[in-house]
């Protein structure tokens, strides 16, 4: 379970650049929920994910993951509960380290790091099997530096790292946005496969409305730091892009404006 209760965040308070990024967010997720998040520029989508991950502190409100209040925990301690994939393929992996070393780092998420070996022979075998799932040929390149991989390969690897130790919540921040359409599709397919197999609670930000409707069992739309549309279950399955835009205009009293979203429609 994930509960976000009354979370607010203002950047640069008291200055000319003051920006209210989150304006009282309330969200409850059940086990196995797969939520897609859509919204215009500056709607607060990434900020919401970063608040859950603990990248910066909240102004008020609380975040509860699986019964544990994590609001005051630093980012590295919350990592125990969270798997994260970022928009920039460079962010989620260490370019100077080998594929297997990256995976081994992820396998130790939430554990004390001791003087035992950083990677064992047994793990190498497991990683080889795991990488086969991606079907990108990475299983033959375990000792290659991650910096040699393409953006899509790096995102797929990050996804594997994020879910290697089953997280309570998987946070995907536009993780296909920087990829070409074909690769984006492939990474999204892998995402769905992994989420389904492990029945992971997932929050996925996307700028692709069709994907937002097709993937997952729940869709939320954000506007000016608020959740303005929340569609679940059967209703979501029947949703069309036109309906979605109407719902948005009705509840926010504003036209939906995001070049990125409209162009990728």
């Amino acid at each position: 379970m994930l509960d976000i209760i009354g979370v607010e965040k203002t950047f640069n308070p008291g200055t000319i650049n003051e920006k209210k990024a989150l304006n009282g967010i309330n969200l409850h997720l059940d086990e196995g929920d797969f939520v897609t998040v859509i919204g215009g520029n500056g709607a607060g989508k990434s900020t919401m994910l970063n608040m859950i991950a603990g990248v910066y502190p909240v102004d008020c409100g609380s975040i509860i993951v699986d019964g544990t209040d994590v609001t005051r925990l630093p980012e590295y301690k919350r990592a125990k509960y969270l798997g994260r994939v970022f928009q920039d393929p460079m962010t989620g992996t260490a370019a100077d380290m080998q594929i297997e070393e990256n995976l081994a780092l992820a396998a130790r998420r939430g554990k004390r790091r001791t003087l035992f070996p950083g990677i064992t022979a047994k793990e190498r075998k497991e990683y080889k099997e795991l990488l086969k799932i991606l079907d990108l040929g990475l299983e033959e390149r375990l000792t290659a530096k991650v910096g040699l991989l393409s953006g899509g390969q790096r995102q797929a690897l990050t996804l594997l790292m994020a879910t290697l130790k089953k997280p309570k919540v998987l946070l995907l921040d536009e993780h296909t946005a920087a990829l070409d359409p074909k690769t984006a599709r492939k990474v999204l397919d892998i995402t769905e496969e992994i989420v389904e197999k492990n029945s992971l609670m997932t929050i996925m930000i996307t700028h692709n409305m069709a994907d937002a409707i097709r993937v997952g069992n729940r869709l939320i739309m954000m506007h000016e730091g608020r959740i303005v549309v929340d569609v679940k279950g059967e209703e979501k399955k029947k949703l069309t892009i036109e309906q979605l835009l109407q719902m948005f205009e009705k509840s926010s009293g504003d036209k939906f404006t995001s070049d990125k979203v409209m162009l990728s429609k």
Binding site: P74, Y76, L82, T93, M97, A106, P117, A162
Partner: protein
């Protein structure tokens, strides 16, 4: 005696010095290459190592225990810089300069004066420049060579452990490290500590080798360390891919640096110009990757045989 013979005569001494500084250069490698931080604490912690070792030895301390305590003094110096950076948010270069400056006072306090000598005739020492041409175990080439080999083996093991991998990950990608539950602040402090521990250990060797510790003995140490790292990478980078071999390359880089310096002095260069020469060489080598990128970019813009 011809110049060549003079040089040949001086080589055992240069190699010994190069090996001792090689330990220091490996310390610099840990911060500069693994942690991606340019740590200037080393100019101070190198002298701290020498000062601690000499004072302890003069007071009858066991030689290897004195080396260990010098190492620990370096760890503490590194911890101060690490905390100035992580806990107090001071940029790493400035944090290093602050520690380096305060170490100057501390080193004076440790020795009680600016220069403390230790005479090999009166005191037993681990290494001394008097022994560089002796065929014995206490020849600095052998003693320091063995210590260096052991250190490289231990570091190779350490950076393969979970803890060592976390330090490497911290240097490679902060965001990724935090997302994977690594306490990046703690690991930065640990890395800077380890680096300065090695630097102080090297200073303890050099003080015995030259027969004195001096409050200024670490001046410009960072430049010599960087020179060794850069020379090692330039000459052996393509050959040595394994981590242990890369550390060895850094030590070799240091040895080559001292042989070149010796050669330049033998050929009659004014010794006062040495630091200027070292700084210029390091500056040029640091610029090469930058120039390569720029040149490469220009090359792409104008493809051959274009319309």
């Amino acid at each position: 005696m011809g110049i060549f013979e003079q040089l040949l005569n001086a080589i055992p001494g240069s190699v010994s010095q190069g090996l001792i500084w090689g330990i220091m250069a490996i310390g610099v490698y840990i911060t500069y290459r693994i942690l991606d931080v340019a740590d200037l604490t080393v100019d101070g912690s190198f002298a701290t190592g020498g000062a601690v070792a000499v004072v302890l030895i003069l007071n009858g301390c066991d030689l290897w225990l004195a080396m260990l305590l010098a190492f620990i003094a370096g760890l503490i110096a590194g911890a101060i810089t690490g905390l100035l950076h992580t806990f107090m948010g001071i940029p790493p270069i400035l944090a290093g300069i602050l520690t380096q400056l305060s170490l100057y006072s501390i080193n004076l306090k440790i020795m009680g004066k600016a220069n403390q000598s230790v005479n090999v005739n009166q005191t037993d020492l681990l290494v001394s420049l008097r022994w560089v041409k002796e065929l014995a175990f206490h020849n600095p080439l052998i003693t320091v060579g063995i210590v260096l080999a052991v250190l490289i083996a231990v570091l190779y093991w350490f950076f393969g452990t979970e803890m060592g991998c976390a330090i490497r990950a911290t240097g490679a990608n902060l965001n990724m490290s935090r997302a994977q539950g690594i306490n990046t602040s703690l690991n930065k402090v640990l890395g800077i500590m380890l680096s300065n521990g090695l630097v102080a250990f090297s200073g303890a060797f050099l003080a015995q080798y030259q027969g004195f510790a001096d409050v200024k003995m670490g001046q410009g140490a960072i430049v010599i360390g960087l020179a060794a790292v850069i020379i090692g990478e330039a000459l052996f980078g393509r050959l040595f891919k394994n981590f242990a071999l890369r550390l060895l390359a850094v030590a070799f880089g240091s040895v080559i640096y001292y042989i070149v310096i010796q050669a330049v002095i033998t050929m009659g260069l004014d010794a006062n110009l040495l630091k200027l020469l070292s700084a210029a060489i390091v500056a040029v080598f640091l610029a090469i990757p930058h120039w390569k990128r720029q040149y490469g970019a220009r090359h792409i813009r104008r493809p051959k045989g274009g319309k």
